[in-house]
Symmetry: C2
Subunit: 424 residues, 2 copies
């Protein structure tokens, strides 16, 4: 790298990792190119609210271009990454090639069906805004069809929702769907009673939210049951077909909508890299988050396997991705600063666990922050507070807050519009 030439930094992904890196990193000699297959950053923790008609899609998304409109050093490209050539230091797009001096990979994860990709068509996952819009449409359409149909057994299928996976996404989805059916839609139908909707949450391990202490998992299950959710734990899914889930205890659940919240894997692009991966396809990175043998290539967020001080994997949550992004930003800046002097020693990444929480419904949640464990209303306020804090900086925050407060307090959902029937 000569002094005159600018340093090319390519960032893949506009999730929490990629976006935070671009916000935290700036250097007069560096040019950043940020690439993503969508045109927006997504506030993923509220995606389930779009799927359950509480918020509209633009309310939890910010166009990446407008985030960096005032940063002439950042070029945003909406493009599919087709391949990464580590030896030539190139990222291949469908329409062109990007050369890099530094590469930050933050492509996140995809829904994983544990070796059953054929289940996807019957049980969509929830990773993108398009996923959320499709789930919203299918769920709202099921209620509409339940009102028009004259076939009782079809109606009971339409009014059954099965959620597979009792992690935070599954718990939040099941809670929001139960509230939608029992509270929001309560007065809207004449020929059937939406309160008769069955929401079934299926989890293979003995309790939901298994990443939290046992008493919080039990509390979450109790709060879900209070909302009318059937919580089935210790039951494994053997088979998913159109409108049917088969469990290992011989039960079959017939449900017009089956939602998959059971598994996440790293972006499949990691498989092309030729570096060590874990079972979920995550890159096993060095302590400084670089790839083994490629000190100027980093993997951060859900696509990286990083161990914390207790040698446990850092969880795939937004704060972890943001902390990794800031670590890499500092490291690259220090190296550019020191380029013509003494080389810097890279420090290892340290994860600071801020806690973990999941919301279940209006005034129902669980939260763990350090030694503090909360349940019910206090946990819900903690959840609200943290999410409000995070949303600050989002363009539409006032509209979102309004919608959100309205939707929670009045049991109304502002985004109950069915879209995309013509195309679907």
């Amino acid at each position: 790298m000569s002094r005159a030439k600018s340093v090319e930094v390519v960032v893949l992904g506009t999730g929490f990792g990629g976006l935070t890196f671009c916000q935290a990193f700036r250097h007069p000699e560096a040019r950043i190119t940020l690439v993503d297959r969508t045109n927006h950053h997504l506030f993923q923790p509220l995606l389930y609210q779009v799927a359950t008609a509480g918020l509209s899609a633009p309310e939890i998304a910010a166009p990446a271009r407008s985030v960096f409109a005032h940063r002439p050093d950042v070029t945003v490209l909406m493009a599919d990454v087709e391949g990464i050539d580590l030896s030539r230091r190139e990222v291949r797009l469908r329409d062109g090639v990007l050369s890099y001096d530094y590469l930050v990979m933050a492509l996140g994860g995809v829904t994983s069906y544990f070796g059953h990709p054929e289940w996807e068509q019957f049980a969509p996952g929830l990773k993108t805004l398009d996923d959320a819009m499709r789930i919203r449409r299918d769920v709202l359409m099921a209620f509409e069809e339940a009102e028009t149909t004259t076939d009782e057994s079809r109606r009971s299928e339409l009014l059954t929702l099965a959620v597979i996976g009792g992690g935070p996404t599954g718990v939040e989805m099941a809670g929001a769907l139960a509230e939608l059916a029992r509270r929001v839609l309560a007065k809207d139908f004449r020929r059937m009673n939406p309160a008769s909707t069955r929401v079934v949450l299926i989890e293979g391990s003995p309790r939901v939210l298994s990443h939290l202490p046992a008493d919080l998992g039990d509390s979450a299950a109790r709060q879900l049951r209070d909302l009318g959710v059937e919580v089935l734990t210790g039951r494994r899914v053997l088979e998913v077909r159109a409108g049917e889930v088969h469990l290992d205890d011989g039960t079959t659940i017939r449900a017009a909508n089956i939602l998959w919240a059971a598994g996440v894997a790293a972006s499949p692009l990691t498989r092309q890299l030729g570096v060590p991966l874990d079972r979920a396809g995550r890159v096993v990175v060095e302590p400084d988050l670089s790839l083994p043998g490629h000190p100027r290539v980093f993997a951060i967020g859900d696509m990286a396997l990083v161990l914390d001080a207790q040698a446990r994997p850092v969880p795939g949550v937004c704060p972890a991705a943001m902390q990794m992004a800031r670590h890499v930003a500092r490291l690259v800046r220090d190296e550019l600063e020191a380029r013509h002097g003494v080389p810097v020693r890279r420090t290892p990444f340290r994860y600071w666990d801020k806690g973990s929480m999941a919301t279940i419904g209006r005034s129902a949640a669980v939260a763990k922050m350090g030694a503090l464990e909360l349940s019910g209303l206090p946990a819900w306020f903690a959840w609200l507070f943290v999410h409000l804090l995070f949303l600050i900086g989002y363009r539409n925050k006032v509209a979102v807050l309004w919608q959100w407060a309205y939707s929670y307090l009045a049991y109304k959902r502002g985004a109950r519009i069915i879209l995309g029937r013509e195309e679907g």
Copy 2:
């Protein structure tokens, strides 16, 4: 009709006509069934804002069910109307049949291609929320592709938008697209300049907004040109192909996005009725808005041809549809009241023209109210005032107002999220 049996009123369409009828009509002996193929009422005058990324879809739509949640006498069905049998007094749905004592048809209009239905695939119209979402996605994608492509001639196609039809919808679309390109997106791209976007408005007659006085049409054209729109009047479209519009003066416009705002026809269901229609398929109704020979069947709004006091057709605008709805509501109520007494004489419908307006951009508009003609900023304030008044009663009005004010004053667009790429 015996006294014990309730009177079945079937209303087709949740547009301004159908919705207003249900709001204005109520009778202890009547049961209303409201049928529409969508699940929402749409604030059509702002639909162009969704197509141009100013507002999100749920912000201008209200679920019909929640509008009538507190009216147990109103049943809402989301269903496609497959046919109407006037002799048997039945509406045929895909899943069942509705019998009626009174029928109010308010199905509105569809985009008409003047005998060239094959143009639709190349030049989508703007009648539904799905239309608006598709246009938004395609327009935003064109800017994204223009940033990534290395082919200059492809880029100039991507940065050309052709709008066919210089009525209110075409004028509003062209103005909003020009603002989007020149103001909203101005700082967001690095490899191309969005201000180089061509927006071409094509109108067959000698001036745009031909329903308004000539000086207002001229003013609208001037305001459009100030925004950078090329206004081509007196030019007819001979042919539309993929990415190409051929005009009768020999010109060909190559544009990645071609939008059709040139024609509206009544819902095709009118053709099955066996009653007299005009050229646009509208039902030629009696002075009381009933169908000839069917005094208990009414057609209102865009699907009815009604003459005003000067024997001119009442225009297909929201206030006309709402006035017709209230007329029919009063009439049916009076008849039910008088059922066991003296029959009432039906009064003819009288249209009260409140004026007409079109907005062109921020602080650009034209308006005519009675003898008063306004242009530019005063017209824009009049437009804003009228639309604010109308929006009152909409669920999301605070969010909409916020978005709207923000989008206008800051030249930002809150709904610039590209959705549905996976499905489209």
